[in-house]
């Protein structure tokens, strides 16, 4: 037993015959921001899907090896919905459920049985504040979530992910559809959230990983090439896999 928040050993992910990730092993420590970088089709998103068992949602997706969250294999949970409630996910493109802003954030608490309006109000306001969205939407909480701008919707999904008080927050290239100013605001939010939870940040932007991540993994073509403290990726004389250095310095990908 290690004290890792997420422990991955020999993880291989397949879609039918296609191997998306092969034999990856690494650990994510509590209260760190763990960056995952790498070009497209490297297995980054597939890894996130295994963490909260969203593989059950994708036809033909299978994985072997061990993935432990909080010291327990993700397949050992009898109630996988309970596992998902501990893990918040932010998708690349914001998905506002076809509900009001308020109901979007209150969705998970309601599923968990929170009924009292006063309690829900506290949760909704708290989550929207922490996602740096409250001031912009407090006057239109009953408007449809899908009417917000792209950047606002992405912060709405972050507020929604926070509403279930997750111990792990997964972000999958959250800044694809977000302008640079909003990106910086969300990054500031993430730095604060680190005190309360563990964050796994999949990103295309090497500089984003550099700004945020304590440690970073480099995935390439289904292989976990390197896991190292993030600054090592940017030190000239660090002992780094040459492929990782090439990627970080923009020579491919």
């Amino acid at each position: 037993m290690s004290d890792a928040e997420i422990a991955v050993r020999d993880l291989t992910i397949r879609y039918g015959q296609h191997v998306a990730l092969k034999g990856a092993s690494f650990e994510v420590r509590p209260h760190e921001i763990f960056g995952i970088i790498g070009p497209a089709n490297s297995g980054k998103t597939s890894f996130l899907k295994v963490l909260n068992r969203m593989d059950t949602f994708t036809a033909g997706m299978h994985f072997e090896g061990q993935v432990e969250v909080g010291g327990r294999d993700v397949r050992a949970w009898r109630n996988l919905y309970a596992l998902r409630r501990q893990i918040g996910v932010v998708f690349p493109l914001p998905v506002g459920l076809p509900l009001s802003v308020y109901d979007n954030v209150a969705f998970a608490p309601r599923l968990a049985g929170v009924r009292a309006k006063a309690d829900l109000n506290v949760i909704v306001e708290g989550c929207l504040r922490r996602a740096a969205l409250w001031d912009e939407v407090k006057d239109r909480l009953n408007a449809l979530g899908s009417l917000l701008s792209g950047g606002q919707q992405q912060r709405l999904t972050i507020a929604r992910a926070l509403s279930q008080k997750p111990r792990i927050l997964l972000l999958d290239e959250f800044s694809i559809a977000v302008d640079p100013v909003t990106t910086m605001r969300i990054e500031a939010v993430l730095s604060e959230l680190k005190a309360e939870m563990t964050i796994v940040l999949v990103t295309n932007l090497v500089q984003q990983a550099r700004r945020l991540a304590d440690r970073t993994a480099f995935f390439l073509m289904g292989e976990c090439v390197t896991v190292a403290p993030t600054e090592q990726f940017f030190l000239r004389d660090a002992d780094l896999d040459p492929r990782a250095r090439d990627y970080v310095e923009g020579r491919f990908g």
Partner: protein, 308 residues
């Protein structure tokens, strides 16, 4: 900067080639196809109205038509044309059919769209569509020869051709088409909603109830309305299973007679242009208007979905 060189073969720009003529020809053909739908619906409505108009203008009264249960067009001394019992017959059968069909078809649609996976889903979809293709006379035959003795035995009633029998048959007939349309409505809800809700720890049923069903509710309503329209217009199965007796039903075991069945059974027996003949066409006008309104509302509702 110099002027562009003259086109080497400017005549080619004016020459109409084969592709040009084919295009024009196809445009005319598909125009005819598209317009024919309008021509037919207007033509049929004009025909039915024309044939029934003599009755509407001379014998029709609101109370006599909608307020009387006496449909006795062949009486020699005092022919009467009260459609209330026929309307009640159609309405009671359709109502019971919807009580059967709505839960069945919504359940089936939710199972196929949300819970079933892979092969099960594909097989079920094909089977449901095949069920929709069973001719109505076959359903009527089942009502007559299977349901009839069953109802007599189980409920100990003298006759099993009644509202219950034809309602069940009609419900089973309408369910497949309603299932198909309802399933289309559920499938139109983007998967990203389901994924996002599941990532929040919602169970499959919670996702269905709180996200998918609300998002699809217009399509589901349209499915139900189309089922109602189907029930209203169905003739053969109802004729065979309802008992065809003029009756204001007070229990599910009463025999009734439907509007459509009345027209089908009597039109061949009447003299063209007689009052009886015209009265049957007046029933036709009424049916036409009701089904038209139902289908139109279903269509408008479906259009509403596409806009949002």
């Amino acid at each position: 900067m110099s002027a562009p060189p003259p086109h080497p073969d400017t005549a080619a720009l004016d020459r109409r080639d084969l592709a040009w003529y084919v295009d024009k020809l196809v445009a005319v053909l598909v125009f005819v196809g598209g317009v024919s739908a309008v021509v037919f619906i207007v033509g049929i409505f004009a025909f039915v109205t024309h044939e029934g108009w003599g009755f509407v203008s001379e014998h029709f009264s609101l109370r006599g038509f909608f307020g009387s249960i006496r449909w006795a067009p062949t009486s020699t001394s005092n022919p009467t044309y009260g459609a209330l019992a026929l309307i009640a017959g159609t309405a009671s059968v359709t109502g019971l059919a919807m009580l059967v069909a709505v839960p069945f078809s919504l359940g089936a649609a939710i199972y196929i769209a949300e819970f079933a996976t892979g092969r099960t889903r594909e097989v079920l979809k094909v089977l449901v569509e095949m069920l929709a293709a069973i001719p109505s006379v076959v359903w009527g035959f089942i009502g007559l020869s299977v349901m009839n003795p069953l109802i007599i035995d189980v409920f100990n009633v003298p006759i099993g051709l009644c509202v219950l029998n034809s309602g069940l048959i009609l419900g089973l007939m309408a369910a497949p088409i309603m299932t198909t349309i309802a399933e289309d409505a559920l499938k139109a809800v983007p998967d990203t909603y389901r994924e996002a809700a599941e990532a929040l720890g919602a169970t499959r049923w919670q996702v269905t109830r709180r996200v998918v069903l609300p998002a699809a509710r217009q399509g589901l309503l349209a499915a139900v309305l189309l089922g109602v329209g189907r029930g209203f217009g169905e003739t053969m199965a109802v004729l065979m299973a309802s008992g065809h007796a003029i009756n204001l039903p007070t229990s599910p075991f009463d025999s009734v007679r439907a509007l459509t069945a009345t027209i089908a059974a009597e039109l061949g027996e009447t003299a063209v242009g007689s009052t009886h003949y015209q009265a049957l066409f007046a029933l036709g006008i009424f049916l036409f208007v009701v089904t038209f309104v139902i289908n139109l509302s279903a269509d408008l509702i479906v259009r509403g979905i596409r806009k949002t």
